[in-house]
């Protein structure tokens, strides 16, 4: 087994946070890889819900979209999207919501809407999708993002989804907000009365200073910083096999339905 990359460490660290039997609202990309890796390793009973309406899905490869056919085929059931948001998310039945974004601030607020001004944006991003209500109502929120000063910013251009924003407690949000931000240079957790994100765990060989340098605000360091164990051989093997299966599946040419 070759040495691991930071992206692999990030995905494996995120996967380890998931306990068997948890109900996860999964996004695409890094969160999907982490959730499916957990399911294929230590948490076979993890319940993956995609906003497309698939509940308890068990794909053998990572989907490109959140609505690929394999998600439906391997699901316990497929329900209409409005039910996912009203009867599962809003009803408080999601243990962990996974989110990423273009920008995050020190309280775990997220921007996936615009860079620049809303009315005349420099960069128009895709928008909220399910994120706003996941951030509000999942019991806990796990954020997975690569850390750069451009994305970990002192001030968001637009707040798409609420982290530990002032007044969260009386906002009607029923979840407890971001519990952890998993990055490629360590993990941040909220601390103190204002729930400011602080470096709470480092990866082998990646010193705290690297995390501090990657974050665009003066990053606090938690009183105790956990040292994350390196990827185990079994973890790396499962992740690489998953990614290889995924790449092979996505390489397969699709015949035009003609």
């Amino acid at each position: 087994m070759s040495a691991w990359t930071r992206d692999e460490m990030m995905t494996i660290a995120a996967a380890r946070l998931l306990a068997d039997g948890m109900v996860c609202f999964v996004g695409i990309g890094l969160p999907g890889a982490a959730c499916n890796l957990a399911r294929l390793t230590h948490a076979p009973g993890l319940v993956l819900i995609y906003e497309s309406g698939t509940i308890g899905t068990r794909p053998s490869v990572l989907p490109l979209s959140i609505g690929d056919g394999e998600l439906a085929e391997t699901a316990t059931c497929v329900v209409p999207l409005p039910e996912i948001f009203s009867d599962y998310l809003q009803a408080g039945r999601i243990d962990v919501g996974f989110l990423g974004a273009a920008q995050i601030d020190r309280f775990g607020n997220l921007n996936s809407t615009v860079i620049g001004d809303y009315a005349k944006p420099r960069t128009r991003l895709p928008g909220a999708g399910g994120a706003t209500e996941i951030a509000a109502h999942a019991r806990e929120v796990f954020i997975v993002m690569k850390a750069t000063p451009r994305s970990f910013v002192p001030r968001l251009d637009f707040q798409t989804s609420g982290g530990h924003f002032p007044g969260r407690a009386v906002s009607g949000a029923t979840g407890s907000g971001p519990a952890v931000v998993v990055t490629d240079v360590g993990m941040l957790r909220p601390q103190g009365p204002r729930n400011e994100l602080a470096l709470a765990a480092t990866y082998p060989g990646i010193p705290a200073q690297e995390a501090v340098a990657a974050v665009g605000w003066p990053l606090a360091i938690a009183s105790t910083v956990e040292s994350i164990a390196p990827p185990a051989a079994a973890e790396l093997e499962a992740l690489r096999a998953l990614e290889a299966r995924t790449a092979a599946a996505h390489r397969e040419p699709v015949r035009l339905p003609l």
Binding site: D68, G69, G127, Q159, S161, G172, P253, V254, L258
Partner: protein, 282 residues
């Protein structure tokens, strides 16, 4: 009882310039053929509604069909930006695009309200977000029992909804299998419903609790095999993930996009010719 029409006629008869149109289908069963036909017929000033304006609206907006977009997530799923939507919002090309922006939960509530012919939908939503500051249509209502303030959205009732489905029977009942997103709700919320289908069968398989749009809610049906490509039709063909990736390069550039639309969409007579022209180009 719906009419069985050629797609060309179904679009000509049911999608007028300026209309409010929802082409729905969440990743699955996206009515791309219908979107292409709207481009082909040069429709203008449409108010487009769709939870996830991905490639289908990237194409229609880039081709100049739309003046307004009601949506909750606009991108190329798993790939990146919807470049034509970005260009319309950022640069006003080929024409400015007015945004009515929501969250998925808000759109879902608005479609549901529309399907029930209620004037508004409600949800515990739009919490911790700047969206309501930029969209005056996001409101609130007070619970008459608890006094709580609950977010509200106006019902969505498009002039016409367009779906793609696996099959219809001869009476016009339409059956869907797999991921539906909010397609059923959008279909029932619209004043008219046009459906393209992979096949028309004598009798649908027994449905029991399956998803069927009964014939009396359907306005027109067009037989259009492959009509969801590059999205997919569960049981018929898979999602063409490669095309979604390739689209990124096509759509990034105005000239290249326009050449693609001119050649493959405007330059073909119908969906069959469109697919044939793509195969030729491959």
């Amino acid at each position: 009882m719906p009419k069985f029409l050629a797609l060309r006629d179904a679009i000509r008869d049911h999608v007028a310039d300026g209309a409010c149109v929802a082409l729905e289908g969440f990743t699955h069963l996206i009515p791309f053929a219908a979107g292409n036909e709207i481009i082909r017929q040069g429709r203008q000033q449409l108010h487009l509604v769709r939870m996830t304006p991905d490639l289908i609206y990237d194409q229609m907006i880039g081709a100049g069909c739309a003046r307004r977009l009601t949506f909750s997530w606009g991108g190329n799923p798993g790939v990146g930006s919807a470049h034509r939507i970005r260009d319309a919002v950022e640069q006003g090309w080929p024409r400015p695009l007015e945004l009515d922006e929501h969250t998925h939960a808000g759109m879902a509530a608005a479609y549901r309200a529309g399907a029930a012919r209620l004037p508004f939908g409600m949800l515990r939503g739009y919490i911790g977000t700047d969206l309501p500051q930029h969209n005056a249509r996001i409101g609130s209502v007070r619970c008459p029992y608890t006094g709580e303030e609950i977010a509200a959205v106006p019902a969505l009732n498009p002039d016409v909804a367009i779906l793609h489905a696996q099959r219809a029977d001869r009476r016009g009942n339409v059956a869907i299998t797999g991921i539906t997103g909010a397609a059923r709700e959008a279909a029932l919320a619209a004043a008219k419903l046009v459906v393209t289908v992979e096949e028309v069968v004598e009798e649908l398989p027994p449905a029991m609790n399956g998803i069927v749009l009964p014939h009396f809610v359907v306005t027109a049906i067009a037989h259009c095999p492959g009509g969801a490509w590059p999205s997919y039709a569960q049981g018929h063909y898979a999602r063409d993930n490669g095309f979604y990736r390739r689209w990124d390069a096509i759509a990034r550039d105005r000239a290249q996009f326009t050449a693609w639309i001119d050649r493959h969409v405007r330059g073909t007579a119908d969906h069959h010719a469109f697919l044939a022209s793509l195969r030729l180009a491959a």
